[in-house]
Subunit: 316 residues, 2 copies
């Protein structure tokens, strides 16, 4: 890439929005923003070539970099959604290689900028550095109005409810790794994860105290709730939302495994008193189980191990 | 590296402090913090192997990773200092390679944690990812009590004042790139940059409106002030602070060039009405020149080009 750092930053910053709370955006030593508080939520997520994506997927998905830009923001929005926070400001670090094409970065910022604009998130700064591995790192800051939803606040007797469906993202990744796209919707589910902000804020508004998002797999993230709340979580496999597309791709048994262990779904898990179940279902959640005293995660009464999703490159 | 992500995060988080304003630190989906506001400052900086450091420098400087951890935070503190903001919360992304030794990351966090503790900065979250290039990315969030110091607020007639000395960092880098340490103080100046937070906050308290820090070289950063304030900046070469160590290493003429174009000094530049000059000097600043109407940067009356410091790897 031959454009200088300063020209590139200028071109990219034109693609990203500010908002009414931005006092100083890109271009000074630090961004200065208005945060109403009293509390702020902060989340950071990186996408790294070889661990989270491969540039060669462009051949299968021409809009790859636009989707990666959107995903870079969406995964942090998911963290804030599951905390009950409203995203406000983002900074982005670009690790750029000699092979990176300027068009790829412009596409990345187009996708990022579009989602940022939709959510009224201002991209206020960051860093652009040379690297021999392409990477993007985003920090998102938001406002917490009431009490944050935490993993550690599940109580015995509560219901367990989730948004969306599980395993689709894994079904998309499998196709990308094979180099053959047979079901495009699943591929898009991996590259273009859902943004469950409305659902997260609705749950917070209903007084839900416990929430998390599913980045490492439904089983693993249920386990983080069980462990940090010192409770047991029981779910019924027949209630776990699994798409027909995924069943068609993998078969029913493997689709359920993908739903439990696949990762990168970016759906929400909440636990809440039973009396909130109906309101949660109206807000787009589905009850899949229950919290009880004890420890561990149980599917159809059988304890499952907290197998993690460790992204697809297991070279470590 | 064989330790799992979750065990590693646990070990690292034990090395980093929280503070009284941390509601939720490392371990949930997002950190939750108390920010008094009304304004926050945000800065992000990355250190990338091959661009900002080489792991092989361990052979010359055994405490390399500890210093890099400290530097990772110090360079963002410099951005906040030059904005007049008090640093409060940091998130850290680690891009870890298969060759990265756990001891290196523990050393990194030891250095980072020590400076964070000194400054009462809480390390509240981040991301750990696999990468084929080792990198560290830190986002720092702080509070702005009054008006932020900006590059764009220099006024004709004001004095130009700086902290510390210039070019030492370049003198240290030159030795590391040669693989031979002849003056250790200069090498430490590159790996262990100063933290001019007290000076930045003092300037803000005095009512100074214009400030920036020197990451890209004194000449370049004076140019950013001149350009964004639409003024000219004149400095006298004899007043630019240059250390005897640097003159001994490079000779007087090359030492002055290093001071002007070397970069990574992490000293502060402010401009202020002449009546504040004495107070600024008491606070550790030295007047080196003056702002006037016009454009550009002049040294001893001669216009100089805004040559940038583009780190040491010019492969881009």
């Amino acid at each position: 890439m031959r454009t200088g750092e300063f020209e590139l930053i200028r071109a990219l910053s034109e693609l990203t929005p500010v908002n009414g709370e931005t006092v100083v955006g890109i271009g000074d030593d630090a961004a200065v923003v208005k945060l109403r508080g009293p509390k702020a939520a902060i989340s950071t997520d990186a996408l790294v070539e070889g661990s989270h994506f491969k540039s060669e997927w462009r051949e299968l998905v021409p809009e790859l970099f636009e989707l990666l830009g959107r995903k870079l923001l969406a995964v942090s929005v998911s963290d804030l959604a599951s905390t009950g926070a409203v995203p406000k400001f983002a900074t982005v670090t670009l690790g750029v290689t000699p092979e990176t094409e300027e068009g790829e970065l412009l596409a990345l910022y187009k996708g990022l900028g579009e989602l940022a604009r939709t959510l009224n998130v201002a991209v206020v700064g960051g860093d652009t550095v040379k690297s021999s591995t392409l990477f993007f790192d985003l920090t998102l800051i938001g406002e917490v109005k009431g009490e944050p939803l935490l993993r550690s606040r599940a109580e015995p007797g509560e219901v367990v409810a989730v948004t969306g469906s599980f395993g689709d993202s894994y079904g998309g990744l499998v196709q990308l790794l094979k180099g053959e796209v047979v079901n495009r919707r699943l591929v898009e589910r991996f590259l273009n994860p859902p943004v469950r902000l409305r659902e997260g804020l609705k749950a917070a508004g209903l007084g839900v105290k416990c929430g998390t998002d599913v980045s490492d797999g439904l089983a693993f993230n249920l386990y983080t709730v069980a462990e940090s709340s010192r409770v047991a979580v029981e779910v019924e496999s027949s209630k776990i939302p699994v798409s027909d597309d995924l069943v068609n791709l993998l078969g029913r048994q493997k689709a359920l495994e993908a739903a439990l262990f696949g990762g990168e779904d970016y759906e929400l898990i909440v636990t809440a008193p039973e009396k909130l179940a109906e309101e949660l279902e109206k807000a787009g959640f589905k009850v899949i189980g229950r919290v009880r005293e004890g420890s561990g995660v149980f599917v159809d009464g059988k304890r499952i191990e907290p197998k993690g999703y460790d992204h697809f490159c297991r070279e470590g």
